[in-house]
């Protein structure tokens, strides 16, 4: 038995998928969810083989939900219209269905995923999420999980980011959070007018800078409003200077 979960905020949209799935008796729907929060809970609880995932949903979108799942299952995306998402799918050759969903396309996608389940490639999902992060909505916020609670952080509330093993540590107005992304991912996606990578291990929010001081020859340190000193590398100093118009 192959186990699946339907995640879509519109019940009629789930109805079509359910209707189509009747012809696949080997696939069992173990849960239906109407938003990303439910989706995460349900995926952790049921550990499905694959999921049907809508992109635009209340609170957090499909991509943000996937980022928060520890071991994401295989995914068939469903979307009505989202240029950025569709671009991300095309780049990463991921299975996606456009609403209204055509029967033959649906059958194709489901057959393909049954084959794929045996050799699931987690890096493909990761790459998809990286390219999907180029959408404007995701420039403005970061979704994180701390002690089982999901939090949506406005990018402007981030003071600085610090490399921390496989994670990036986000210091914000509301405390410290971890996100399993790389520094270079954030360097690429955050607005470069607001965030500057001052060091191999640090990206800072320019609005937080209060002072820059010379520490030793050729080595600077920067003071943030939250009273934290951070080191600035030589190239970082050049970038900082340019960004502040010094």
């Amino acid at each position: 038995m192959i186990r699946t979960i339907l995640i879509d905020d519109e019940s009629l949209a789930r109805d079509i998928v359910k209707h189509y799935l009747r012809e696949f008796p080997e696939i069992e729907i173990v849960a239906e969810c109407s938003d990303g929060f439910e989706g995460i809970k349900s995926i952790t609880q049921h550990q499905p083989d694959f999921i049907f995932l809508d992109i635009q949903m209340p609170k957090i979108n499909g991509f943000e939900m996937l980022e928060l799942v520890e071991k994401p299952p295989a995914v068939i995306f469903t979307t009505a219209f989202d240029e950025y998402a569709i671009k991300a799918f095309e780049v990463n050759a991921v299975d996606y269905l456009l609403k209204p969903i055509e029967k033959s396309r649906f059958d194709q996608a489901v057959q393909k995923i049954s084959v794929k389940l045996n050799n699931l490639d987690a890096t493909a999902t990761q790459e998809l999420l990286d390219s999907a992060a180029m959408s404007p909505a995701q420039h403005r916020r970061v979704v994180v999980k701390k002690n089982g609670v999901i939090k949506i952080i406005a990018v402007a509330d981030i003071h600085y980011l610090e490399a921390d093993d496989d994670y990036v540590k986000l210091s914000t107005t509301e405390g410290v959070f971890h996100k399993n992304k790389t520094m270079s991912f954030f360097e690429r996606t955050l607005d470069t007018a607001q965030f500057i990578r001052i060091h191999r291990s640090y990206i800072i929010n320019l609005a937080q800078v209060t002072r820059i001081e010379l520490k030793e020859k050729d080595s600077y340190i920067v003071l943030l409003k939250s009273d934290i000193w951070l080191p600035v590398s030589k190239t970082g100093y050049a970038k900082l200077k340019a960004a502040l118009g010094m």
Binding site: E10, L12, D15, K59, A80, F81, R141
Partner: protein, 353 residues
């Protein structure tokens, strides 16, 4: 900026060749036909032609800077006569300086002044006309390019507006719902298709300049909300009250729909709970007042960044009434957002008939 003819390599080459040929022809003329010494022939030809070339360059650049709108012929005539005179006398002065002892040449120089002047004048005149023609043609093609670019821009803007009006996200999701209904509830599917068609027809008719009656506008809004209600069924509740005396009043057909769309976007799309959207249409001192209220998630608003995106409507109100304050928007409770739109019913409004 229009390119100067002399900045183009091909023209530079041709001009240089003409200068060279011109020089050689006159050297040969002086030497063989008039039997002057080679020194005199070369000096006369080089001085005169050199001055002529310099005058042509000046003329070309001058015409690039300034061309009179009227009286072009007179302007060019005066200019070329003056330049020709100047060259004639400078060349005479210079040559006189060098060859004052050569009596035959000196008398030839004095006698040939008039013919020299005429040749210079004709050449400069030709040069001026060629330049004017060049600049006119360049200007024409530049204007054409600008026009084309402007046309492309406006086409693109039009296309973007249409794309936005069609709300592809809403449209495709609605089509998906209709499709689902054909399977689970075919009768309802028929109703939904006709509603969607009526809504789209209404969308295509919308224009800033067209005023519609409250009655008509509310029918249109109702269609939109009905479709959303099918998509989200029990999650969307509507509480709409329209005062009887407001029905015959009117408003521009492009203002209310985006406000309701906003209420749906922030009230309904951003939450998975059941919500109620409240609308009140009233008349106050013969001003039409429409109040739309939706719940919202304060946490989402903080993270959303752009607020409630009503700036486009404010801009339109400014264009229509020169008064942005006709739109008031803000949270009235911690999680309730209210948008109030006031439409003055002056005599100056377009007739709705």
């Amino acid at each position: 900026m229009i390119a100067r003819p002399l900045s183009i390599p091909k023209i530079q080459n041709i001009a240089s060749v003409i200068l060279l040929v011109w020089c050689v022809v006159f050297i040969l003329l002086f030497y063989y036909s008039l039997n002057f010494s080679i020194l005199v022939s070369v000096a006369d030809s080089v001085v005169t032609s050199g001055l002529l070339a310099a005058a042509c360059i000046c003329l070309s650049n001058l015409l690039g800077y300034y061309q009179p709108k009227n009286e072009t012929v007179l302007f060019v005539l005066v200019l070329t006569v003056m330049l020709a005179l100047i060259i004639t006398f400078i060349s005479k002065f210079v040559l006189h300086l060098f060859f004052a002892v050569d009596k035959t040449y000196m008398s030839f120089l004095s006698l040939s002044l008039l013919i020299r002047f005429i040749i210079l004048f004709v050449f400069l005149g030709w040069c001026a006309l060629a330049n004017i023609l060049w600049y006119r043609l360049e200007e024409q093609s530049a204007t054409q390019d600008r026009l084309l670019a402007a046309q492309n821009l406006s086409k693109e803007a039009e296309l973007n507006k249409l794309r936005h009006q069609l709300q592809p996200h809403f449209l495709f999701n609605s089509l998906n719902s209709v499709y689902a209904l054909t399977i689970v509830n075919p009768k309802e599917a028929g109703t939904m298709i006709t509603k969607l068609a009526a809504f789209l027809r209404g969308t295509l008719k919308r224009d800033d300049d067209v005023w519609v009656s409250v009655e008509e506008e509310m029918e249109y809004i109702q269609l939109y909300l009905d479709i959303e209600k099918v998509r989200f069924s029990h999650r969307l509740n509507l509480d709409i009250q329209i005062a009887e005396d407001s029905m015959k009043l009117s408003l521009p057909g492009t203002l209310l729909q985006p406000i309701v769309e906003n209420a749906i976007k922030f009230g309904l799309y951003n939450t998975s709970a059941a919500i109620t959207i409240t609308m009140r249409v009233t008349v106050e001192n013969s001003v039409l007042k429409i109040c739309v209220q939706n719940p919202f998630d304060p946490e989402m608003k903080a993270a959303g960044g752009t607020g409630f995106g009503l700036s486009a409507i404010k801009r339109r109100l400014y264009l229509l009434f020169a008064d942005e304050s006709l739109l008031q928007a803000g949270s009235i409770e911690e999680n309730i957002f209210r948008t109030t739109l006031k439409i003055p019913q002056g005599n100056d409004k377009n007739d709705i008939d």
